[in-house]
Amino acid sequence: MAEQKTLLKVDGIHVYYGSIHAIKGVSFEVNEGEIVTLIGANGAGKSTTLNTVAGLLKPRAGSISFEGRDITGMSASKVVSLGMALCPEGRRVFQQMTVKENLEMGGYSRQPQEIPASLENVFSRFPRLKEREKQIAGTLSGGEQQMLAMGRALMSKPKLLMLDEPSMGLAPILVEQIFDIVKELNEAGSTILLVEQNAQMALSVADRAYVLGTGRITISGNAAEVLADDRVRAAYLGG
């Protein structure tokens, strides 16, 4: 594999919720063009890590850089304009706004004249959203809301797309569909950082993986290696 450009570099971050030490020195990298997955049990700190990278939480120690630029402690609203978008856990679409308005909000950081082209782009990837353009987002099904959340994140034209538990609460057939879309997006040039509880699925699409156990990276490597790791099989893949 040729030497890749590092897009995101997280170096020894420590994150606290009040007095609870949630993340204890996590380091990892995401290179341009990769799908990197962060797996681990419930409560291991996967979402906390993503939220910190996205700027919703501030690390007490350690650093985060994006394209070589230090973004540690930068607010989430600024991070977006640098080219990072987080599709948050539980989708969090704006329930009382229409599908189109949700997508427009996704493009908030961009110039107004760029929005129509991005909308077309999202609609061509998610034709279902086009059909429901004027519908209130709260009335969409779970799968549609996940598509909307992903489409909304894509509206900012991110260099790095972070997905937090995109398969959560979806029927198996939809889970597969969502992972197909993740692969397609990656093939179309997006770099993806994927957090998943569904380790099997995540490892099957990812290039590299990090396993998070109670606030620390315990195992890392190529997705295939991690998938074959006995400790991972025992802990996360049911045998």
């Binding site: 919703l56 308005e101 909000m105 909304r152």
Partner: protein
């Protein structure tokens, strides 16, 4: 019959003032999830500024109103930045008590600057009045302009929140601050903007109120403030059309109640209606039932 019509129109006019004030309560509640009990006192400051501009600086009424709006906008943004922003993560009770503190601060500040003696507010309108039914029914220009102002504000706010990028961002923030932040929306700035709009409307309400009821004192804002808050709850707090409907209904109930039932009980009647409505519709007329996030 003519008398009833007169009471009805006066009710709608008073209700329009309540509605404009209630918008400030409801927008701030919608976005910051807090009850800004100092909102009523911003009305009073707005009325004093307009009064001073006309009485001491001899400025034309339109300029006086604009000046009041500018001062109140700044005041609203400063109050939010100094008093409420540091408490963004604090318990809601702490924010509520702070708001009451700000309210007393503004009232006593006004007492210090303008004194306890009531000022007689000159109406900002001098257009005369409309006579109907051969002079039996007189509608003053204050009444008509108040209703017109209310309609214009309602349309403008609906367009703002429905059509503009900033207005949509405001709705996004009121639904989910974290998700809005992830979109690149600056949440603090959006909350400031909401206070700015609410306070500018409070200035308008202050001028309209004092044009109809010309006695201006440091406590002038508190009763209308409480009634407008009632109107906001009545209509469904957080809902813009709810504030409008709640305000107008409240004004009508108050005036008709005073006219036909009892002058002394007019205010009590207003609150009695609120209690009855909340018994049957706890979220208010247009309010959405609160969903607890799990």
């Amino acid at each position: 019959m003519v008398a009833f019509l007169r009471f009805l129109i006066n009710g709608v006019s008073l209700g329009s003032v309540y509605a404009i004030i209630a918008l400030g309560y409801t927008m701030v509640y919608g976005i910051a999830k807090m009850l800004n009990f100092a909102h009523g006192d911003v009305i009073m400051v707005g009325a004093y500024i307009a009064f001073c501009a006309m009485a001491y600086l001899s400025l034309p009424p339109v300029v006086a109103v604009l000046m009041a709006m500018v001062v109140c906008t700044a005041l609203g943004v400063v109050i939010e930045g100094l008093a409420y922003r540091p408490l963004r993560q604090a318990a809601s009770l702490a924010v509520l008590i702070t708001a009451i503190g700000v309210s007393y601060f503004l009232q006593n500040g006004a007492l210090l600057i303008w004194g306890a003696n009531p000022k007689i507010f000159d109406s900002v309108f001098s257009v005369g009045s409309v006579r109907l039914f051969g002079g039996e029914l007189t509608i003053t220009s204050e009444t008509l302009l108040t209703i017109a102002a209310n309609i214009v504000i309602m349309i403008a706010l609906t367009l703002f929140t429905g059509r503009t990028k900033l207005g949509k961002a405001m709705r996004a923030v009121s639904e989910d601050k974290g998700a809005a932040e992830l979109m690149g929306i600056n949440v603090n700035r959006t909350i400031s903007l909401t206070f700015a709009i609410g306070s500018a409307l409070a200035a308008v309400a202050g001028v309209l109120l004092c044009s109809a009821y010309p006695t201006l004192m440091p406590t002038t804002g508190s009763m209308p403030g409480i009634k407008a808050f009632t109107a906001a709850v009545f209509g469904g707090i957080g809902s813009i059309p709810g504030a409008m409907i709640g305000g107008i209904l409240l004004g009508m109930i108050e005036i008709l109640g005073k006219a036909y039932i009892s002058t002394e009980l007019g205010d009590a009647l207003v609150f009695a209606v609120l209690i009855v409505v909340l018994l049957f519709k706890p979220a208010g007329l247009l309010g959405k039932p609160v969903r607890e996030k799990v």
